[in-house]
Amino acid sequence: MPEDFDFDHAIDIAWCPGCGNFNILKALKNTLAELGVSRRTLVFVSGIGQAAKTPQYIRTSYFNGLHGRSLPAATAIKAANPSLTVIAESGDGCTYGEGGNHFIHTIRRNPDITNIVHNNMVYGLTKGQASPTSRRGFLTPVQITGVQLEPFNPLALAIALNASFVARAYSNDVEKTQEILARAIRHKGYALVDIFQPCVSFNRVNTHQWYKNHTAYLDQTHDPADREAAFKLSLMTDPFLLGIFSINRENPPFEETLAAYKDDKRPLFQRNVNMDAIANLLKSFTA
């Protein structure tokens, strides 16, 4: 029996009507139910922003921490208890802007977590400033002559760092998004799913219609084990490609490399302090 991730009472969702987040929430709940993930062993971790509110609307455990800092917390949660399913979910500003350094090093560290990034190419919660993924020329109340910075390419960066799993989805294609999410959650290792979504309030350029015209799914023949091909495909911007770009099964998940689990597989909370071992260690200070 798949668990029910819905609340037994009405909840007040803080998103604008028509926001792409609703579809992502739907796809995510369906995926979790389909995978038979238990609410009791699932943890969402998020930062701050509209996307980061998603865990509030799923009946499960969550750690809603600081802006930009979801990945270190998610890494540690998985490391403290490897039996948990850990999903870090936040927006493009949180993950790629404020949390950019963590994004880089989490890919390198490769914890067995799923990283869902809502990418609407704009800052929603702070009302319409540029995000790292905003396209050049995008007009905002701050970037009044248009964005001048090179847009951040999370997929190319992740593939360059030999990330374990790299994919992109589009929120309004719920079915395909579910397929990608299911593969990402099942994947052992760090899995990035960048999800394009329209922001109906602050992005009048990258609308649903725009995404329809400027995205296409990867060709069925693409082999995700072919990293060079994946990198090349990740550089394409018209259309932006959707699907699973790259899978690398060579690097072990972070928590499996830890000395703490070498002799003892139990999660940290089930362990007791070995006072005798400390007493023995003390003796090593006599010489």
């Binding site: 803080a14 609410r39 009791r40 062993t41 699932l42 943890v43 971790v45 701050i48 509110k53 509030q56 009946r59 499960t60 455990s61 969550y62 750690f63 809603n64 921490g65 600081l66 800092r69 990945l71 270190p72 917390a73 998610a74 890494t75 540690a76 949660i77 998985k78 490391a79 403290a80 208890n81 039996s83 948990l84 350094n101 963590h102 880089i104 090093h105 560290r109 830890l258 000395a259 703490a260 070498k262 002799d263 003892d264 999660p267 940290l268 909370f269 089930q270 362990r271 007791n272 302090v273 070995n274 006072m275 071992a277 400390i278 007493a279 260690l281 003390l282 200070f285 006599t286 010489a287």
Partner: protein
């Protein structure tokens, strides 16, 4: 100043980074302990890997010595510039034991006691400049009358990991040095005080502050350490890395301090017991995370090894100037506790206590040490780690579990995901009892009050200050953290004066008896390693009581015994005239 025959010998080794002073320090501590003497050492070094000038000061005594002193009885220069920084501390009574080839002629011309030992040539003969530290080990051991056999035993233990060729070279060098030392001892009878040997030191421990805090952390159940390297706190990260497998500690070098503190909070959330170790600058980066710990009511143990700021300051030196940084950092209002050990035992006890306090009250606990504390080596008879098992405050959740349930003492039963039928929701936004975001003003008020209610219990649990001497008294010295030993030894040297020392190992919440104790002294002086009297200010804020005098030091070096004695004498004199 003290008169009469000294009861300890103070040795200063001075040389360049890369000349093997640290290896020599470790070996000498072991050799002299083995021969039944109490030892203490402190190394100060420049923030560089090669060259410059570093020094190690060792004290050897027939009774416990735990503080640094200015007096140098034997000074061994390893390089031509090695004496330059110490001219103020070298007196005609100091034996400058070294190679006249590298000791500038002006020292001899000034009438200083230069004893020529051809260390450089001896090293060359023994296999090159790399053996210089082993030559010195031999010379000093021989000069102090230590049997060569003890030196060899210690070398066998300490250098067992190195290759056999190198071991043979080291042994040859130390043997050669020892022979020269024995000759020197015969040539200079009475040059050194005869120190009684103690038979009871074989089971004593040689530890520094890092060891003490690390061992206490293990006893407190620390099983997760995430940190970014920063002097002088890195030693603790290394300590746990070395124990990671044996004690099941997740140890990770984070990409920055922001990551480190957020990892630590994630670990606590999932049932780990996490520590971060850093210094003032790294802690500055962690401050938003500190505030998050306050909001989500997470336990957190933060070790700050203080060094002089502001900004990068003096990276490898010592100071006690981050008290207010630790106390006032973090946006918003939330409870915290701050501990500052002075002795090795306190480092161990407080590190363990930090975990228990953090877990009991679900608050951040900050341990404030400093470079002087962390990198001074002490000989202690033992370290009490406590026998009782660590209290684990986690509960198994039920289906209706609410992480922030309102309670009388402000502490909600703490559940973790994956243990019980409930779900555990932690939110940095203001939240309701279930952990869900809210902007309801009544809930906001209730949550603020709930969090702050913990302060009552915390204040009641404050560790009382340690009294050295009695109350009431004429003169009271108040200090905190690493000043303990130097003030205590200074008081012993002062003898008959009615002077008492009050040492604080818990800075915050300040113990409730503080005002009552301070009022039992006619005159009060504060001693602390900063320029503005931060602890003095804290005490004044909490008690309304001020101090009659202060001794503040902020040049990057620890307090020295002689300067503390002199300042205390002045304080007594000034007070008598007032």
């Amino acid at each position: 100043m003290q008169t009469g025959q000294p009861t300890d010998i103070s040795i200063l080794l001075s040389g360049e980074a890369g000349q093997g002073l640290q290896t020599l320090e470790r070996l000498m501590l072991g050799v002299f302990k083995r021969s039944g003497w109490y030892v203490h050492s402190y190394s100060e070094f420049m923030s560089r890997i090669r060259g410059g000038n570093n020094s190690t000061a060792l004290r050897i005594a027939s009774s416990p010595v735990d503080a640094c002193r200015e007096r140098i009885d034997i000074c061994v220069p390893f390089s031509a510039s090695a004496l330059d920084r110490f001219v103020k501390r070298i007196t005609p009574q100091t034996l400058i034991l070294g190679d006249s080839e590298i000791i500038p002629g002006r020292y001899q011309e000034q009438g200083l006691a230069v004893v020529n030992v051809p260390l450089i040539q001896m090293a060359k003969d023994a296999g090159g400049a790399i053996t210089l530290n082993m030559i010195v080990l031999g010379v000093l051991s021989g000069f102090l009358g230590v049997d060569l056999e003890l030196v060899m035993t210690q070398m066998g233990l300490s250098l067992s990991g190195t290759d056999t060729e190198r071991q043979a070279r080291n042994i040859a060098a130390a043997t050669k040095g020892h022979a020269a030392g024995v000759v020197l001892r015969e040539q200079k009878p009475g040059a050194l005080p005869a120190l009684a040997h103690s038979e009871t030191l074989s089971r004593a421990l040689l530890v520094n502050g890092i060891d003490a805090v690390g061992l206490g952390g293990l006893a407190g159940g620390c099983n997760f350490v995430s940190s970014y390297p920063m002097s002088p706190s890195t030693g603790l990260l290394v300590f746990f890395a070395r124990q990671a497998q044996a004690f099941g500690v997740v140890v990770e070098q984070a990409e920055d301090e922001i990551s480190a503190v957020n990892m630590a909070l994630g670990a606590w959330y999932a049932g780990g017991r996490a520590l971060v170790t850093t210094s003032g600058g790294g802690f500055a980066l962690m401050v938003e995370g500190l505030s998050l710990a306050g909001a989500i009511e997470s336990p957190l143990v933060i070790h700050i090894g203080q060094r002089p700021g502001p900004a990068t300051g003096l990276p490898t030196r010592t100071e006690q100037a981050d008290l207010e940084h630790a106390l006032y950092s973090g946006h918003g209002e939330f409870p915290r506790a701050i501990l500052a050990p002075g002795t090795m035992q306190e480092g161990c006890t407080l590190a363990r206590h930090a975990f228990e306090l953090a877990d009991t009250y679900q608050i951040p606990v900050i341990m404030l040490t400093d470079q002087g504390y962390l990198e001074s080596n002490h000989l202690v008879q033992g370290l009490e780690i406590g026998a009782a098992p660590v209290v684990n405050h986690l509960i198994e959740t039920d289906a209706g579990y609410r992480r922030y349930a309102l309670t009388d003492d402000g502490v909600s039963p703490r559940g973790i995901p994956g243990y019980g039928a409930g779900i555990v929701c932690a939110d940095s936004d203001e939240h309701d009892e279930g952990g869900y975001i809210t902007e309801d003003m009544d809930v906001r008020r209730a949550m603020v009050e709930k969090r702050l209610r913990k302060l009552r219990g915390l204040a009641n649990a404050a560790i009382p200050p340690t009294l050295v001497g009695k109350l009431p008294c004429t003169y009271l010295i108040v200090g905190w953290g690493s000043t303990f030993h130097v003030v205590k030894e200074a008081l012993e040297a002062l003898g008959n004066i009615d002077i008492t020392f009050l040492h604080y190992a818990q800075i915050y919440p300040l113990h409730a008896q503080t005002a009552g104790m301070l009022l039992q002294a006619r005159k009060r002086m504060i001693i602390e390693g900063n320029a503005t009297g931060q602890f003095k200010r804290l005490i004044k804020m909490h008690t309304g009581l001020d101090f009659d005098a202060q001794f503040l030091k902020f040049d990057g070096m620890p307090f020295m015994l002689e300067e503390v004695i002199a300042r205390l004498e002045d304080f007594v004199k000034e007070s008598a005239h007032a």
